[in-house]
Each structure stands twice: as structure tokens, then as C-alpha cells.
Amino acid sequence: MAEITLVEAVNLALARALADDERVLVFGEDVGHNGGVFRATLGLQARFGERRVRDTPLNEALIAGIAIGLAAQGLRPVAEIQFSGFIYPTVDQLVNHAGRLRNRTRGRLSCPMVIRAPNGGGIHAPEHHSESPEAIFAHTPGLRVVVPSSPARAYGLLLAAIRDPDPVVFLEPARLYRAVKEEVADDGEAAPLDVCYVLREGRDVTLVGWGAMVRECLAAAEALAAQGVSAEVIDVATLKPLDIASILDSVAKTGRCVIVQEAPLAVGVGAEIAAQLAEHGLLNLLAPVRRVAGYDTVMPLFRLEHAFLPDAARIAATVRELLEYA
């Protein structure tokens, strides 16, 4: 079993899906010979041919639209959008069609498709290359929104997304593409969707994050442990539909919750988690629910991106504030 990076795990899952199922097609901008700008599709065209791994014209709305047509025909399109900052032209197709086709035909047609995109900041990229638009899709009925946080999780969740009978927006934290390596077994095993993953158990506070923020939560938990504070860390993984039960269970034990998101604060996925904690978990809380998030500003160019992005220090400082309550 080899140690691989997250982007290599994505590649491994795509290769596995292509090998296992003739219905799986990979397409997007530069995914063919070039292997994608992050090399997530490296070598796939050479191995599986141009029929199955295909460059498209440069048009994101088109990419989403043809995925819907292919999926309705029973194929399993896996489309790449080059950066999530360029995913906005797909919103019309994903909101008006992908998320609705099953419902508006009462199950006659469906959209088993995946739209993959690198997501988030922290990679010193040009303008529009560091966005976190997950809330738009998490707000959309009929979609699944999945964000992996490690190589093994990326492999398992991507296979699950490709095999899922409904449309999935799969947002890969670009910052983690090559940040860590871990052993990933190419066993074709999908990881469950629609569930949170408890990555570290704790007693005093629950840290809830997804994508690149999971690493910050784990680092904060490590720092807090050195100060005698026991933090539980939850990787949400599937942002929609949300496994709030796992988060409520954890907060029932710890009494405190800090939600960490890279996206701007207002009306984000963290707001939904906080609202559900208020609705269903208030009596278990020892302190207010807090969110550590990006600011409600435009994602700054890279000189200021680290001032924008939440980090372990901000998370740990917020936890220490909560410990003042009781």
C-alpha cells in the first residue's frame, strides 16, 4: 500500500471508477493529455482513451449541461471544473436541472453525475482561484455536497459520489492536494456519504469543520491538549444532506461547539449547523456556539489570504473563550 497525496487519491479513485464501470466518463477543460491543471486526471486519457477521458470546449455551463444529458441517459459523468471560482456558470444547470430532474419527472429521469472542483484558498493563487462557494450548493435541494479532508477520505468519498444515483458537487481542498501523504488502499471501497466522521474524540469541546479546515481543527485540538483541553474533531464531509445527529451527539457530550469554515461567515454552512444546534441541542450547551470563518469580505489576493483564512490559533483562542463560561 502506497503513501499518496490527496490529488493522487483523486486520480486513483477516477482510475478505479473508469476501470470498474464502462458508464463512467471523465471530461472537462485540460483533463485529457494535460491531465488537469492540478494533474488530478494525469494519465487517465492514455490509459482509458479519448472516448472516456475527453477535453471539452472551454465553457463551464456546457460542461454541467452535457453532464446532465449524459447522466439522464444512464451514463456516469464525472466532470471537472478547473477551479471552484469558475463554477458559477454551472449554477443555473445544477440548481435548475441537476437537482431537479428526478423530482420533476417523478423519478423517470435522474442525474447520477459528479462535478469536481478544486476549492478554497491557501495556495497563493491568482484572483478567482481561491473561492469557497459550497453554501450555494448546500442550499440547493436535490444536490449532494461532499468535501474530503484527506487522501483516504478523498478516494473513498469520490468513489461513493460517482456511484451515487444523484448529483454530487465534490469540492476538493486545493490546499491539501499535496500537503500530506497517507496510505490509501486501492480496494475500490467507497466511504459512506451523508455521515460525519469523528476524527478525534474529546470531552470539552467539539470542533466541526470540512476540507482544509479539518487539518486546522486537528492542529488546534493538538495544541489544546497540551493545555489540558480535550477537543473532539468532526469532519462533516457531506455538507448536504447534513448529518446533524452526529454533531448533536458530540455536543451533548462536550457542551461546547466551534464550527470552522473557510467560506465567508454569513449564511454559510456553519450558520445552518449553528441554527440546528440552537433548535435541537440548546439545553446541552454550556457556552454559546461559535463560528470561526472567513470574513464577510471578498477573498483577498494572496498577500492577505492568511489574514482571511481561519487557522489553528484562531480556533484554539475561540475555544479558550468558551471555556470561560462554565
Binding site: L62, Q73, D92, Q93, N96, N103, P165
Partner: protein, 357 residues
Amino acid sequence: MTVVARFEIHGVRYLDAAGHPCAELPPLGRDREHLVALYRAMVQARSFDAKAVVLQRTGRIGTYASALGQEAIGVCIADVLRAEDVLLPSYRETAAMLGRGVHMDELLLYWGGDERGMDFAGPREDFPICVPIATQLTHAAGVAAAFQYRGEARVALAVCGDGATSQGDFYAALNLAGAWRLPLVVVVNNNQWAISVPRSAQSGTETLAQKALAAGITGVQCDGNDVLALHETLAAAVARAREGGGATLVEALSYRLGDHTTADDASRYRDPDEVEARRQEEPVVRLRRYLHAQGWWDAGVEEALKADCAATVDAAVARYEATPPPAPTAMFDHLYARLPAALAAQRAAAAAGGGHG
């Protein structure tokens, strides 16, 4: 300077507004049985359309988009497609959908506010009515790509209006069809009006058919009120797609004799003289005049057909109105293949007749 490329756009017309031949007719012009069948389908579609408007006016369905004066396009589309082809309609394709085997009561169910109407029993792979303009064209390109991938001799045919040709999705779909040589036919029902905006304000191009040139596919214009011209043009486009010859954009010139929908009042922005002038060119009367001139039709057969169509529509209305309303839980039951746990409480609340919270 040299000419590096040269293009022409061809127009097709066989019958003038009075139903007189204005060019040497194709074989279909001699095919009594086929033309009578097409005529019957047009009258049936118009009969349904008129009834649907009445049902809206009396509160028995919701907003409805009439296709008055554009019946020839849909009837010919349905006639040239095979059952295994896939139609991707906009919201004005009543005639095409009926011709494909969608039932009238299913269409009424949809316009009557019930999703079950798009779960039609007939052409199971056809797409549902598409309201967002031109978005169905990229789906059609995807469907065509699926046929191409599987090596199937099938065709995807999408229909849109003249306003849709201004959308990015319109060009994106044509462009991909050119780049990938897809088995796709896009039919523009150029009915001259996108709600209140006339064709002249929509685009500076001389024809809409020439938009195909920028995508590297065939573009052709035909008289959309002339069944002979439409049928020949569409059949050629579908055959070319099926044989691997690539995609075609067909601009069918018609006129929207009615309002945009029942929620619109075209008298606010349209000169009634223009409408009356265009009414003289409409397709049903045109074909009837031709049939009369051939001695293939008379007033008695016409009366019988109208009575027959009305009875068919009335029976469909009765079936529609006898359909029990959907349960509130229906909005949850087809959202995903399996109901996510996160939605269980909301579904239960809807079932109990209340909101959530």
C-alpha cells in the same frame, strides 16, 4: 486580402401562404395519406391548445403557453423522429410532445401544477418541458454524446425559440456539436417574438440559421408554416445526424399568433394589423387549402375531424380532472433516490399537514 471562407444559408419553401406550390414539390407533396395524417395531427394539437387556454381562463389549469400558429413545427418534428430518438422540448412543444406519445391528460397535469405530468408513459427517455431558456440545448448535446459514446444510431433533437438564440447555452451546445460532430438537431421556432421583444431586437444577424456557421455545423432556414418545407428540412437534418454527418441548426420561420402565455397580453406591445397579416400565413389553413386543391379534403371530413378532436380533448380533460391530487409527501419522495435522514423530519411534518420547526 483573400477570401478565407465563404458561406451560404439556404431557405426552403414549397407552399405559399395560399397553399399554392411555389417550387417543384418533394415526393411528400404527392403522398395523400401522409399529408392527411400530418394535417390531422395539426388540427388535434390546435384543438388541445385552444382547450388548454379555456381551462386556464376558467381556473382549471395554471399558466399555459399556447403554440397557436406553430403546430406544423411540432407535428413535423414528431413525424421525422424515431421512437428511440430523444426530444428535448421547451415549453411550447405541445404538438411535438403529443406526436411523440405524451398523453393530453399528462400535459394538462403538468400545466395544472403537478409534476406527475412529466412522468409520461410514452417516450420515457424524452426530457420534460424545459422552462429556463436554452438550457435544454446543452442537455441535448449530452444526450447526443451518450448516443455517440455507445455507438447508437440515435438522434437528440432540441427545440427552442428565437429569444433562446441569444443565450450562451445556445452557442455552447452548437459549438460542442461541431467540435464533437454530435448527432444533434436544434430547431429554432422563430415565432418572431420573445415575449415582447421582436426578432429584430434580438440579434443583428440576417438569419438565425447562420449562427450555425460559427459553430461549424449546418444551418438552414425553412418556412415553419409550410409542412412540405419543414418535413424535408427536418428529415434531412435527422438523417444526417443519424448517419454520423453531424449536427444541424434548423431555423423554422413561424409566427406566434397568441400571447406568450396566458399570463401575457400581447396587445400591449404588438400591432394587431401585424398579427392579422401573419394569420393569413398560418400553417393549418395553408395545408388545408393544398389538400382541398388536390381533392383530398372537403368540408364534411373537416367537420368530422373537428368533432373527433374535440371528443379526444374532452376525454383527456375528464381524465385530468379525475386525477386525485398528489400527497404533500410527494415533494420529498423523488428528490433523491433514497430519502436522506436529514429530510425525514420535514417529510413527517409535511405528512402531518404542518410546517417544520
